[in-house]
Symmetry: C2
Subunit: 263 residues, 2 copies
């Protein structure tokens, strides 16, 4: 009888240990600097994974570093990545209304050098983390952050790939695409009024002219902010969550990562 | 010692059995009819899978049913699907030069009712196969075949999804998109000269107007026929194989199938 119990207990114990191991998500606010600016990013990783691992840089929407991208960082950490959500605006600068958000985003959208340097400061934090395999880093971003990771790529940053979710695709300097070393994946709502067909066409031309390795997925009937439940459910407003496109775009990103980070 | 050997032999035997099981690919030419036309399709399935399973209909390029789509059928059979490559042209009609291929394809492209009815005759063969789960059928096609599976969808056919690889996207009857029940995935070379941006834009408008569940992936720097090694390696000719886009598009199709056929 004791033997029987032991054979039962051992698997149960190992299941419990596996559950405990899965739950070792570590998160931490990280202060860092860019010039005189104090920034506060958010790091997430799973302590049950061993050794260094691919890193994912995450750039927030125009509202700044908030719950949404923190949850994305945690989601990626659970998949085995070191995830670092950067702070583009500065510690405590978290606009809570469209006017202030547009003003903050505008600072960086109008000054692409500042945008690049600011996001590169965040990249540096991730690169230097001892858990990160610095040869295997991707950058992803949402809306404003999607445009930012494309700008990071245009700076020639040593990232394996960038993924834009409903991001702006415009650039004042299309010729800079020649600097791009990263593979590029753009996930786009086909009727996103903030990223209209002319902008998409100009982006494709920019990428083709520079012979970038790029892909763009259009999701039919989908508008801006489709990955964010906070965007609500009314597409007529131009921004709305779409659960199907959210799921599909996350899966497309994972497949892209599998290609980038294959052993 | 005997006990030790037994513990060694059992796993080895089961590995060998698994290899043998994987190899049970069955293929067969299938004669069938559409009106008075005699057609010869190609069926492939893996006999080591049990029970009925999702079916994939495959429509050939303008050269007709040949080695290329037969190999695709076998590839899909090994993944666990019942695959049926249809014959659009008629038994023995296998054009071996562009002029004859264009003439054959033109017959069906100019008569969309005939195209729909002809491909539906092939669908019927797959639906009736006892190995097929008729509730779970997708249709895929290459070039001419990509256009054909879109036309099948526009006919209102009861397929869960259709996938076009470098297919034509045009239609004389955009309003027919309202009949579409299938989810639609289009895999497109971004610089395909045979499917130019105006055709892509018209297709998107057609799909959006009819509120179809559609997705379109553009592959940067990629021309027509990108999945077919027979297309050669010179993109300046407008058609060329692209190994990366081939791999990515196949993976996108698999992900799409996973969504369509989830239990």
């Amino acid at each position: 009888m004791k033997v029987l119990l032991a054979t039962l207990v051992a698997p149960v114990a190992s299941v419990l240990m596996a559950i405990a191991a899965q739950a070792e998500l570590k998160t931490q606010l990280v202060d860092y600097k860019h010039g005189s600016a104090i920034l506060e990013g958010y790091l997430a990783y799973d302590d049950s994974f061993q050794g260094n691992r691919p890193g994912v840089l995450i750039v927030h929407e125009w509202t700044g570093l908030g719950t949404y991208v923190k949850e994305r960082a945690e989601q990626l950490a659970k998949l085995g990545y070191v995830a670092f959500a950067v702070d583009m605006y500065g510690k405590g600068i978290r606009p809570d209304n469209p006017k202030d958000a547009a003003a903050q985003a505008g600072i960086y959208r109008k000054d692409r050098k500042l945008m690049r340097d600011r996001v590169t400061a965040g990249l540096s934090v991730l690169q230097k983390n001892p858990l990160t395999n610095a040869e295997k880093i991707a950058a992803i971003g949402y809306c404003f952050g999607g445009g930012t990771v494309l700008e990071l790529a245009r700076s020639g940053a040593p990232v394996a790939g960038v993924v834009s979710f409903h991001g702006n695709l415009d650039t004042p300097n299309p010729a800079d695409a020649r600097n791009i070393k990263a593979k590029v994946l753009v996930l786009h709502g086909a009727i996103d009024p903030y990223v209209p067909p002319e902008q998409v066409a100009a982006f494709k031309k920019e990428m083709n002219n520079a012979q970038v390795d790029w892909q763009l997925i259009s999701y039919g009937g989908v508008v801006h902010s489709f990955t964010n439940p906070e965007a609500g459910n009314d597409p007529s407003k131009g921004s709305a969550y779409n659960a199907t496109a959210d799921r599909r775009s996350f899966a497309a990103m994972q497949q892209f990562f599998n290609e980038l980070f294959q052993p």
